[in-house]
Symmetry: C3
Subunit: 350 residues, 3 copies
């Protein structure tokens, strides 16, 4: 065990082969780390072909993570959690992770539970869409989101209690849902990085998702849509780069700062004490900017999100600050490198 | 006063902290200039955090620009005007600007007054949407734009005199407007740079705006739109990168050349003589390409626009010509540097 | 004649001035080649201004290609075919091309004939939209595409035999068409490069087209669309960058591999034997990803496509593999360079 070593050659960066793994592994390589990619059997080619993984460990499915954790520990690997990791492990099992893990584990409960998430965002002073407690209160356009929805499916829109009761019939199995005010405006995903080492918050980039069929039904003339009976679905298929109106940046910066500050006051279910380290590393505020430039936030991701994938070679924002390509994946590796070489690794593990 | 100096160390590049300031300041840095950012009090963080401003001068509001102009003059700063500068100072006060100013001041009247702008574009041989003098002439889809509209709000669409008279009721305060043929096609913003030093026109990049709610209502199925009564608004929230069909480039190049040539024949309201220097530096033609590949232009911006912000690290077009990252902001600084070191600074100030 | 030379200085890279020529010529320059651009008279400026062409040969129209082919042969030039080349020369005349030509000529028949193309894609195991043999079989939303359609015009949507017969009246001249199931989902264009030298398949990038008016009618509220009677058209005006959901990559890689493998079993109409070299170099699968993440492919382009133009300075995918900017145009030049210097040029000419 060389966890106390200050040489990055004694460590490896590991992640699951999905979501943002290419970016994470490439970034780790660029910072001089050995890289390990945990792949589902049969799907290794991509990670091999791009040349970003020094080593590939194959598993039958990502749910088998705990079966290969010992191997990762022996290799002194640091796990970079991403959306798929969180989704396959689940916040409930986060306490069982024994290998080095970048980021707060306790925060995962707060991002995964819609009610807790809402408490956090509200306490941070963000604008949120109104939530309706019962279908009968619906008095405007609302979107109904099912808790278990994966990858953007399992939503519907309703304009009245009547419409709600009619459409809910199509989702007999899913029971938990939230009824949320439907804000009309453009989706903007804001990507941040908060450094625990230097206490600085960086705006990394922005993107919009590319959702099927939401981002293509507009290509169908309204008459045809009505004839064919088109309904919107929100399956994520990719991401598109974006810059935001520069005058929005001070507000976006402030929102990020508030979320970080507030995170340190949350309760850590793993220790039942305060979540001392709070939120750090990459995170994302997901929301909608309406025509009056109000930025409503409907979700936070407390780890790297796929919306940073367009920026493997840096974003219009990271190029302002860095004179080298700085993806979010590389920024993570840079942080870990600085933590290791300054003997502060414990501060960025959680 | 070292205005005659040929050392760029004797100068600073200044701009207002908004719009395209990050790009302008970063570009000036890359060319070796000291940089000054004039910020609204309380909104300095963004410009500080990205590390692009050597100095920040805080003001209560951008309208107070003239109160700090003497300080900028003492620092031998050259002002790079952008959309927010033009909007807050106004072309009427442009004659009062005493500090070094990059670009023609007289051109600002021509870009700010919709009728003058139209004369200029028509004389340049560009295709323009038809203008209807009275609501009674409306015989096709038209868009009504209010002159004072800021950031894209204050527009509506009508298909007939009846619809016009019904919808105009919602805008009781705004009196001046234009009734313009509504061209159905994709918006494309073409970004140019014309060098006064070498008389060359460069195509810098293209973008599409990301407007709230125009760029998201298509995500709502037509049935839902009709139920909820969605109407389009055009608040600019950001910009998305784009390349154009290569066979359109010769025409786009020609359009830019015509606008520059024609600009030298316009009248300069500041001198009442011809606008001798004409249009130079960055400018943008804003229009719509219809399904027959006609490029209708509805606006010109005679200075840097926010649509160049996706290209802080260069665009697919500047990478063709330059073997280094060349944003529009940096291209401006490069031009000023070349003007200074060759003793031709006067030629690029206006 | 120095075709056997192993010095790249003895060769030139040539292409027609349109489509992807800027990228191809820039890439060839970066790899150290002399470059020749064949331009339509009067449209040379763009290729001159960007500085990518060492030599420009002007022709009255691209159809006159065969008149200047001898000149290109004397200059020992290698032609890089792109969409405009294929469109102006036509696969039927491909056998008459005598100059060095990058890529298989015989494959052009298979990509140009919709029925042959479909056989190839089906044999490769790809999911294709259902084809209806007669209008009477229409039982869902279908899109009718005319064979001669250029640049995306000449399509319509119908939901029933009745609607088909009504709308077809508007296209009296065009006789050959295909009736294809209309898949609702987001368009994604996948760009590949298959190296004949090292037998590796690379994912180069992804894009979505920017079509007029398909990509802007969604900005018009449904009520206005219905009032104005908007219909969709698909004229290509540009391209937008995109990354795809990382978990789709293994499937996308497999699809590309299958298409390449299958191509070697096709018949070469030029020799009546098998198409031994098959498909190699750049190619593109054009399709739609539906909300269940099924990737339906409706077309293959067996050469470089304009959707790679956003990536003159490399894509998020090429930056993973290469530590230098690698456009598809440059990747072609790199392959040719490696072929020349290793004495294997014949293997990449076709």
């Amino acid at each position: 065990m060389v966890q106390g070593s200050r040489k990055i050659g004694d460590y490896a960066i590991a992640t699951l082969g999905s979501h943002t793994a290419l970016q994470i592994l490439k970034g780790a390589h660029d910072e001089g780390f050995k890289t390990i990619c945990v792949c589902v059997k049969g799907l290794e080619d991509v990670y091999r072909n791009f040349g970003v993984a020094d080593e590939i460990i194959s598993v039958d499915s990502f749910e088998k993570y705990f079966e290969i954790e010992d191997e990762l520990i022996r290799k002194n690997a640091i796990m970079i959690p991403h959306g798929s990791f969180v989704s396959y492990i689940g916040w409930e099992k986060a306490g069982r992770i024994k290998m080095m893990h970048y980021g707060s584990k306790g925060i995962l409960e707060w991002e995964s539970d819609r009610e807790k998430e809402r408490l956090w965002l509200k306490a941070s002073g963000l604008m949120l869409p109104k939530i309706f407690k019962t279908p009968e209160e619906i008095d405007r356009a609302v979107i109904i989101k099912f808790h278990g929805a994966k990858g953007g499916k399992g939503y519907f829109i309703a304009n009245s209690p009547q419409e709600f009761h009619e459409r809910i019939k199509e989702y007999p199995g899913d029971e938990k849902y939230v009824i949320q005010e439907y804000i009309v405006g453009v989706p903007i995903y804001s990507h941040y990085f908060y450094s625990r080492l230097n206490k600085e918050l960086e705006i990394m980039s922005f993107d919009k998702r590319y959702e099927s069929n939401a981002d293509s039904i507009g290509r169908i003339a309204s008459k045809d849509q009505l004839d064919v009976g088109i309904r919107t679905s929100y399956t994520i298929t990719g991401n598109m780069p974006l810059v935001v109106r520069e005058s929005l940046l001070p507000q976006i910066m402030k929102m990020g700062q508030n979320v970080v500050t507030q995170s340190m006051k949350l309760t850590d279910h793993l220790t039942s004490g305060p979540l001392e380290k709070g939120l750090y590393g990459p995170f994302c505020l997901e929301g909608i900017v309406d025509p009056d430039l109000n930025y409503y936030v409907f979700e936070i991701s407390a780890r790297i999100v796929a919306g940073t994938n367009p920026y493997v070679n840096g974003s219009p924002y990271t190029w302002l600050k860095y004179n080298e390509p700085m993806s979010t994946g590389r920024r993570i590796a840079r942080e870990i490198k600085e933590a290791i070489t300054s003997g502060r690794l414990d501060e960025v593990l959680g």
